[in-house]
């Protein structure tokens, strides 16, 4: 060959690999290393064995944060996927079958465009918007709509509903994305299947549970993984929306916020890294569990 193959390969790979190794691989590796030190972020580094993990085990805020992460992990995907499936079904099949084809309801295209839009907004911007929507006085969208004289709802200041109020914001933003995703899946389900079922006397509820959901199972699985990853993050929402960042009284604290605050506010780089390792283990466990639980025979089309 006239032009050398290897100089070309190396030339194309060297910059991306160097960048990736320096900023990504090295950082992940060092997290495991720093987790065993008491480093503050400045000065000498000394190894302390499992001390950080012992501290973590006895840290009640850590356990509360894990609980909150697991709560979001359960609630966010269930609500989002259920809503998105129903909406996608209505948009694609809800219009009934006329003239031999199953159709979506009138205006389905417009709905899909509108529902999807929040996905484009940065979570940080959405957090600021909903911080105002939830405002505990008359200036909030929801409390402003309540009849005057009624007791205002303290969405973010009431520890009992603060976390679910934040999850609701994530649902608000995510549903449209999954409507589009599920719609694409439903579009590839042959209309003949629906036709055949309809002729056999299946109503819409049966169609939904017996045909749509099984045929979309793989897409639903992907959606679950995506939402699970989002559930482990939540940093932007909690950092911006919650009172006293993670409050009231730790009611909305999540692992990501704990990592950030320990690293950059409490000068506990070692402890923050240990928290990072535990977050990683939780993520892995979630991924393994998802694959196991949702594994069922995919329906071939």
């Amino acid at each position: 060959m006239r032009h050398g193959k290897y100089p070309f390969i190396i030339g194309f790979l060297v910059v991306p690999v160097a960048l990736y190794v320096t900023f990504v691989v090295a950082a992940y590796v060092q997290t495991f290393q720093l987790a065993f030190t008491d480093w503050s972020g400045l000065g000498p580094i000394s190894y302390v064995g499992f001390e950080n993990f012992v501290t973590m085990w006895n840290d009640s805020l850590f356990w509360r944060s894990v609980q909150h992460n697991l709560f979001v992990l359960l609630v966010l995907p269930i609500i989002t996927i259920a809503l998105a499936l129903v909406f996608a079904f209505l948009l694609n099949v809800g219009g009934g079958h006329k003239g031999g084809t199953t159709r979506g309801v009138w205006g389905s295209k417009l709905y899909r465009v509108l529902f999807f839009f929040p996905q484009l907004l940065a979570l940080a911007i959405v957090a600021v918007i909903f911080g105002r929507v939830y405002s505990p006085d008359e200036s909030g969208l929801i409390n402003g709509l309540l009849p005057s004289g009624s007791e205002p709802i303290l969405f973010l200041a009431d520890g009992n509903i603060a976390l679910i109020s934040i999850v609701a914001v994530l649902v608000w933003q995510s549903v449209g994305f999954y409507v589009v995703l599920f719609s694409a899946g439903m579009g590839s389900i042959s209309t003949e299947i629906y036709e055949a079922a309809a002729i056999d006397g299946a109503n819409r509820v049966t169609l939904f549970f017996r045909i749509t959901v099984p045929l979309l199972w793989q897409t639903i699985q992907v959606a679950w993984v995506y939402l699970g990853i989002a559930a482990f993050d939540c940093f932007a929402l909690v950092n911006i929306m919650s009172v006293e960042r993670g409050g009231p009284d730790g009611a909305t604290s999540v692992l990501s916020l704990m990592i950030y605050r320990n690293a950059f506010e409490f000068s506990q780089a070692g402890y923050a890294s240990a928290l990072g390792v535990s977050l990683f283990i939780l993520t892995l466990a979630f991924a393994a569990l998802t694959l196991r639980v949702t594994r069922r025979d995919a329906v071939e089309m």
Binding site: F8, L13, F23, A27, G94, A122, L141, V222, I259
Partner: protein
């Protein structure tokens, strides 16, 4: 009831579907329920956004009136002027544009170069490098945050655009490489072989033959990266800190900060104007590229 509304083109099929006499009533009831459900969600989606725009024109008294969707007494753009200049939204906006243009361009160039070589050349270590990139998809960015900060610090890149751009590129590579490698694999070999016969160099083949052929995949992933990097909050918050950092903040960071200070200074209309200014470009871009954006963002999930 044989369907009277069915188009004439398909008469044969409809008669068999018309066997159930109550089909039509069921459809109507279902259909109106469907409409109500969809309409309620449409209101829930658009409501907060319309409210933000309306509130940006109101003064503080009007905002606290308890009539969220009441019209403002006058439409003055003063709050927008305040947001753009005194609250620095203009500066943040330009910073975001600057960073995202360079980082997305860099991501696409480096990512597709690596993906191309990994997808179409055999050499020792190929699989190892490929899996090194792809494994990055499994780790939460959060986990790397602490060491990342100190790595950047050791290079003197904290609180610099260069640092932010390099980090954006590095953290966008796993998905870009993963997706583009799969895409390059699907492209036919014949044209490439013909070009080799004609004596085209490897580099020329990539830029003049493969890149144009991979256009649809490149467009999807470019959109995916633009949206992802534009919306990034965690990385800039961690990296753009220190003395004088506020002049280099990106939009997400800046708006979040305005929302904190608006509380102290009671300048709510400025905050709403700032929010409108950050939503508006997204609406315009979405209106123009709606189809491509939906395709680009869902590309990751569909595989």
């Amino acid at each position: 009831m044989t369907s009277t509304e069915a188009p004439a083109a398909v008469p044969a099929k409809t008669s068999s579907a018309g066997r159930k006499p109550d089909t039509k009533r069921e459809v109507n009831a279902f259909s109106s329920l469907a409409h109500i459900a969809l309409f309620v969600w449409a209101l829930a989606t658009a409501g907060p956004l319309i409210w933000v725009v309306l509130s940006s024109f109101k003064n503080n008294t009007e905002i606290f009136l308890g009539q969220p969707f009441g019209l403002p007494s006058s439409f003055s753009f003063q709050s927008y002027l305040d947001a753009w200049t005194t609250a620095h939204v203009g500066q943040y906006f330009l910073n975001s544009v600057f960073v995202v243009v360079l980082s997305t361009a860099g991501t696409m160039l480096l990512g597709s170069m690596a993906a191309y070589v990994l997808a179409r050349y055999r050499f020792p270590g190929n699989r190892a490098i490929y899996y090194l990139f792809v494994s990055g998809l499994a780790f939460p960015t959060f986990m790397a945050l602490v060491p990342l900060f100190f790595i950047l610090k050791s290079f003197g890149l904290i609180n610099t655009f260069t640092g932010l751009i390099l980090v954006y590129i590095a953290y966008s590579l796993p998905f870009t490489v993963f997706f583009m490698a799969a895409f390059f694999k699907t492209l036919p070999m014949e044209i490439e072989e013909a070009a080799t016969m004609d004596g085209a160099s490897h580099t020329r083949k990539f830029f003049q033959i493969m890149v144009p052929m991979a256009k649809s995949g490149l467009v999807s992933i470019t959109i995916f990266n633009i949206v992802g990097q534009w919306n990034q909050y965690l990385l800039p918050v961690a990296i753009m800190q220190g003395a004088g950092a506020d002049s280099k903040w990106v939009l997400t960071q800046g708006i979040a900060n305005i929302s904190t200070s608006a509380g102290y200074q009671a300048q709510w209309s400025t905050l709403f104007a700032a929010l409108t200014l950050s939503i508006l470009p997204m609406i315009i871009v979405y209106a123009i590229f709606q189809r491509q954006i939906q395709a680009g963002l869902t590309a990751g999930a569909v595989k």
